[in-house]
């Protein structure tokens, strides 16, 4: 029996599209609700990053029917087969999986989120709870998410090998809406790595990406993301973790896109003694606009967070770095520190660092440091005085600047891929 609903044309087409695609009735209903909300909610506001000037209509309800030629885009991030489980999604379709089957012995699930909602409804209940649909774009993702990764690690299981998602967009106009959910039960351990890339010659494309993580009591999750979107992509990515008592969440993010990108990532430290770190590195070239917010919310006692963000801007690239440490009342003995460092390599590049501490509790420790500058002429002189060319010397200085963050990327192949991208951008 069908329920007649009075919904907008948009929500109606969301319902039709995802019913046809085989989603469960409850998932379709969640999508329709989100679609309705998306029409009522405002576009998120980011000071210094005006989304209203971007083409936010560059998407359609239905995704591409099939995946385009994805290999060349995905392969640099995959690297040699070192046996780690891998999921590749192109244009919303799973196109390659590797080593997923062997995981079930330990009760670990690593699969596409779309499939997981169908097959493991009990495990995916936290979908939409860590990143609620509280602005138009997040609601749009909740309505239209095509696919993404689902990771479940049961209590006490420690995954040594990282799990990897590679997500590529080969055609434009449909919008790119990845969504990931990671559930780490108490005392478990897992490393998740996701990479996003788009074809270089796309026309306007909207990308809204969401990652939700729940870190159980005493669990440890490490998530490393690399994004390399092309010039005409407008991307908004929100990645958040809810961290239970004594849980640990380490974020690493690398942004090398040429387009207009907004990234917000961080943790909500709800339980006592939780810890989280957020490392970010961005390389901006051309007319790239990168808006990065690392956000740590301390609600539990004895919680610790550490933000370390670096950016290198060249050409006419523009970066806004925010570090946001929020300490709520009664979060005794919380300790939050943050550092934002930006390097401008050209006179037309722009960068601004905005550290923010919002503290509602007296018994806390907080520290912050921010700097925006150019290459130190004394360093350059020193290196060149040994016979190193100006170009090589500058590269050494830039590498030295980003290396501490790059070293945190958990898969060798991805670190190498990232290094190659950086190498190309600095050429």
């Amino acid at each position: 029996m069908s329920v007649v609903q009075d919904v907008s044309t948009f929500a109606g087409s969301v319902r039709d599209c995802f019913t046809d695609a085989g989603d469960s009735q409850s998932l379709v209903q969640d999508r329709v609700d989100a679609a309705v909300r998306s029409e009522a909610l405002p576009v998120p506001k980011y000071e210094r990053s005006d989304l209203a000037r971007r083409n936010l209509a560059a998407y359609s309800v239905a995704g591409p029917e099939r995946a385009g030629d994805w290999r060349a885009l995905a392969e640099p991030f995959i690297g040699a087969d070192d046996g780690h489980p891998l999921l590749v999604i192109a244009d919303g379709h799973v196109v390659l999986t590797r080593g997923l089957e062997g995981l079930s012995g330990q009760g670990v699930v690593f699969t596409s989120l779309r499939g997981a909602v169908r097959e493991h409804a009990d495990l995916t209940r936290s979908l939409g709870t860590v990143v609620p649909s509280d602005d138009r774009l997040l609601a749009l993702n909740a309505a239209l998410w095509r696919d993404g990764a689902f990771v479940f690690v049961p209590k006490g299981v420690r995954m040594e090998r990282p799990l990897q998602l590679v997500h590529v967009t080969t055609t434009a106009g449909h919008g790119t809406f990845p969504r990931n959910l990671i559930v780490a039960e108490a005392d478990s351990q897992v490393t998740f790595l996701d990479a996003y890339a788009s074809a270089g010659d796309l026309p306007d494309e909207l990308c809204v990406a969401v990652t939700e993580v729940t870190v159980g009591r005493g669990a440890r999750v490490k998530a490393g993301t690399v994004q390399d979107f092309s010039r005409s992509v407008t991307s908004v990515a929100v990645r958040r973790a809810a961290v239970d008592a004594a849980g640990e969440m380490d974020w690493v993010t690398g942004e090398t896109g040429d387009g207009f990108g907004i990234v917000e990532f961080g943790s909500e430290l709800d339980g006592e003694g939780g810890r989280s770190s957020a490392h970010a590195i961005a390389i901006g070239t051309g007319r790239a606009h990168l808006d990065l917010t690392a956000r740590m919310v301390h609600a539990g006692r004895h919680t610790t967070s550490d933000i370390s963000a670096r950016g290198v801007m060249q050409d006419r690239a523009n970066a806004v770095y925010r570090g946001l440490t929020v300490i709520k009342k009664d979060a005794h003995d919380a300790n939050g520190s943050q550092t934002e460092k930006l390097l401008m390599l050209s006179p037309k590049s722009r960068a601004v660092a905005i550290p923010m501490l919002l503290i509602d509790e007296n018994d806390v420790k907080c520290g912050h440091a921010a700097s925006v500058g150019q290459i130190n002429p004394d360093q350059l002189f020193y290196l060149m005085s040994r016979g190193v060319s100006e170009r090589a010397a500058k590269r050494m200085i830039v590498w030295g600047f980003i290396d501490p963050v790059l070293a945190e990327l958990p898969i060798d192949a991805v670190r190498t891929a990232m290094e190659k991208v950086v190498e190309r951008k600095l050429a």
Partner: protein, 261 residues
């Protein structure tokens, strides 16, 4: 290899439009060790940084050549590739590149493409050189000068010099902040390079270093000029009588740059 020659004539240099060097003439040839002495603020370090090409120093008049080629027409890296070396008073720290790798890159830049030093040979020789300079082996893999103490940085400068084997080396107050043992080690490093294909310009305001590195020529700078040149006996005179007798003899009241201008 020919005998190297660094020639400076009528050199005038300004920093932020203020003239610091006011006509310096000097020639350093292979086989010679020159010491430039003088109180603080007389332009000694300006001479060193200008010759290497620090962008802060503006050459307003005069010229300098290395082996007959115009030094000021060359970039900083070209000067190094031609065999000029400056051991700095305040070496920069650069993270991201290890000490050993940096030296290998610099050495290979000097040797040129196709003539790179084999990696194992490089590391073997580096290890020996570090040992002779009493530098701990772990310093090879540490980031360039990062977290090194003042004395460690100075020894690292000498290590780089012995690795790169320059034709003309300028040592800018390499002795400041060194204890007597470190001083002797640094001096051994310099003395080990002595020969017809190596000339050095040692800038110091203490006589102490010159007890270990015996200069062939000694110059005293005041007010941005060389006011007296001589042999080693000049060091002894300064040791015994300080700079005041010289100031008196020359009729200089204030020896620093800008005074009496």
């Amino acid at each position: 290899m020919s005998i190297p020659e660094l020639k400076i004539s009528g050199l005038r240099v300004a920093v932020d439009h203020k003239e610091i060097l006011r006509g310096v003439d000097l020639a350093v040839r292979g086989g010679e060790i020159h010491a430039v002495m003088g109180p603080n603020g007389t332009g000694k370090s300006t001479l060193a940084s200008t010759l290497m090409g620090h962008p802060k120093y503006e050459v307003t008049a005069g010229e300098a050549s290395l082996d007959g080629e115009d030094l000021f027409a060359m970039g900083v890296d070209e000067r190094a590739l031609k065999g000029l070396f400056l051991a700095m008073q305040y070496p920069s720290e650069v993270s991201g590149v290890s000490n050993a790798n940096f030296m290998r890159i610099a050495l290979n830049a000097r040797r040129g493409e196709g003539n790179e030093v084999p990696v194992l040979k490089f590391h073997r020789e580096l290890k020996e050189k570090m040992k002779s300079l009493s530098i701990d082996e772990t310093f090879a893999e540490r980031y360039l000068n990062e977290g090194f103490s003042g004395g460690e940085k100075k020894r690292n400068e000498i290590l780089q010099m012995t690795v790169l084997r320059p034709r003309i080396a300028i040592l800018d107050e390499i002795d400041s902040g060194l204890d007597i043992d470190a001083l002797r080690i640094v001096a051994d490093g310099v003395n080990g390079l002595r020969g017809p294909e190596f000339g050095a310009l040692i800038i110091t305001h203490y006589q102490r270093l010159l007890e270990y590195i015996h200069p062939d020529f000694v110059h005293v700078m005041m007010q941005g000029r060389i006011v007296r040149s001589g042999g080693r006996e000049l060091v002894e005179q300064l040791e015994a009588r300080g700079y005041d007798w010289l100031k008196e003899e020359l009729g200089i009241a204030d020896e620093t740059v800008g005074a009496g201008a």
